[in-house]
Subunit: 340 residues, 2 copies
DNA sequence: GCGAATCGTCGATGCGTATCGACGATGGTC
DNA sequence: GACCATCGTCGATACGCATCGACGATTCGC
């Protein structure tokens, strides 16, 4: 492997000159620059990351803490991971994976060994042993998700409250007067995951504002529970029933349950779920969705941390950014107002 | 951040002694070791990764090249990623993400800058511009998947041929004489992805060996195509029909198609798919599966590369390891032979 | 045509660790 | 008790780059 010293010799300049050509931190004459660049090209020189990190105290690596796999949300996690990695490259950074099972010690390790300059924590919920640690680490940390106590932390997440509001307002506008929200799976609800409360709060706010009834019914991965919820909703609704089912598994079961009751989404009943546009289009009846835009959340998370890194302002930061959600009407809801 | 020099001063020894305590590469008296360890503890010293890499020429980081996201296989990709990251930690290594969209240049970059000591390439299929590059990089590379020309490369993958054989043999043993294999999606088949051929080869081999008929029918994400395939299979089968549907999306459509024809898997018809045990159990009728064991493949990939790294034998290596698949009979196949 | 400001380049140094040769202290041998 | 091997520790150096101060060469103003 050639070093910058080799390049310097080949170009007939000092090693420091090579460094300045690369960094642009001092003016270099056109002539010298050409010579150096030619030598770099010819030797296929690439700077050594370790040496660079040692001298500059910057690794240009961001640690990404991925959640322990609950088997079902893996696809959505991968979307975050993929976009984060790609976006980081646009800022000339790389992504180092840290698995959640390393816990708070993992954070201390990668920061303490100076393997990375900052951290992104995915899927932060409620309480978390890593949060107090994150606050005291002297590197930028960005959370995707909002913990119960976000003080002293930089957070970004989809605007779940807006999502809840949008769903209810649009269903109300389509003529529904009773709207049933099928909960996430009980494990999620019981953890009192922040985003569930925010979503539910949004639906209730909108219900009050536009004068419709919103009822929350138990969901889960269990077909009997959901079937019971559906039947209860059907019994209590006088007009055309409307369902909001944020969870993908719940959507599957809801779809089959409605079919077995002889109800067709978009005709006898409205259904809105949360899903990516691609998945929504693949459904037998394309699903009207509230898109939580994981890609956009990921991009912004990377942008935020890279800004923090470039200004490397030491002190603790605190901010909270919510990414607007997008509602798209497809075939599973009654016509007005149909967009997209 | 404390350095090994700080630790040395606190312990009253030389910096090199601290290094030897940590590495164990020279004998250290019990007394000195205690002093040094106490100082490390007290200062919460952690060695600087950059300096370590510079001096030792080892980063203890493995680059993981993840495929560009085709949206549907994201969940299975995440399973690989997660297990690889966790396993790497067991060998005291970290994982750096490299996205496929960086292409061959990405490989040159991370290796040339010496950001990582070796690479794992995921989901390698047929031809790939990165393969010739991988062969010339002077670091260990392990492929998950088998390219058309595996010469000079270290590969590991599930044993798709064995998978095909197992499916056919077990269905034959259960009394089926005609077995229909529903293809993967056409984009996959057209790429002439290696594993498809291997799987199909396995089914044909077993068919010949046990004297049953295996027919291959078009699959895809398209319900009409699959429905047509199913009807064709039903028409051509005299005994109890049997289906093998490796692809998850195909399974979904197959399930509904059979239901609409009034056929119940495990009673009127046998169905074997490829899926994780967890997902298989979640089905309305638990699916008999051929498990391709992505976790095991991942673990072995990490193990292989870590062995190559520890022996750092320079020359190009070549090997091919196939991970045995596991067939598990659940409710979707006829009784004999039912296991698990 | 002289001093001052500017520009472009160089040499030296430091970043924190691993590793090599050296050397004092110990223990054993005859 | 003189000699040698072994053990444990130290000091020095190298790893490859970034960065700082210095300095010769220009350029400009007057």
């Amino acid at each position: 492997m050639p070093t910058s010293k080799d390049v310097a010799e080949a170009a007939g300049v000092a090693q420091s000159t090579v460094s300045y050509v690369l960094s642009g931190k001092r003016p270099i004459s056109e002539k010298t620059r050409k010579k150096v660049e030619a030598a770099i090209e010819q030797l296929t020189y690439q700077p050594n990351a370790g040496a660079r990190a040692l001298a500059s105290r910057k690794t240009r690596v961001i640690g990404l803490v991925i959640p322990f796999i609950p088997e079902l949300h893996m696809a959505s996690i991968m979307e975050f991971v993929s976009v984060i990695a790609t976006t980081a490259r646009q800022y000339d950074h790389d992504i180092l994976l840290v698995t959640e099972d390393e816990g708070a010690a993992g954070l201390r390790r990668v920061v303490g060994q100076q393997i990375c300059d900052g951290l992104i924590l995915m899927q932060v919920e409620g309480e978390d042993e890593r949060l107090p640690v994150a606050r005291t680490l002297n590197v930028p940390v960005v959370l995707i998700g909002i913990p119960r106590d976000p003080s002293g932390l930089v957070c970004i997440d989809a605007d779940f409250e807006m999502a809840g509001e949008q769903c209810v307002r649009d269903l109300a506008a389509a003529g529904h007067s009773v709207i049933s929200v099928i909960d996430w799976q009980p494990e999620v609800v019981d953890r009192h995951v922040n985003y569930v409360d925010r979503f539910m709060g949004g639906t209730d706010t909108a219900a009050r504002a536009v004068g419709v009834t919103v009822q929350h019914l138990p969901g889960g991965a269990d077909r009997e529970t959901i079937a019971a919820s559906v039947d209860k909703a059907l019994a209590q609704t006088t007009g055309v029933p409307a369902f909001i089912a944020p969870d993908g598994t719940v959507q599957d079961i809801l779809r089959r349950t409605l079919a077995s009751r002889g109800l067709t989404p978009g005709v006898d009943v409205s259904v809105i779920g949360s899903a990516s546009p691609t998945l929504a289009e693949l459904q037998p009846i394309p699903l009207s969705t509230i898109d939580l835009r994981p890609g956009e959340v990921s991009r912004r998370a990377v942008k935020i941390i890279c800004q923090l890194l470039s200004t490397d302002s030491q002190g603790p930061h605190e901010s909270l950014e919510l990414v607007p959600t997008v509602i798209t009407h497809r075939a599973s809801t009654l016509c007005p107002p149909r967009t997209a």
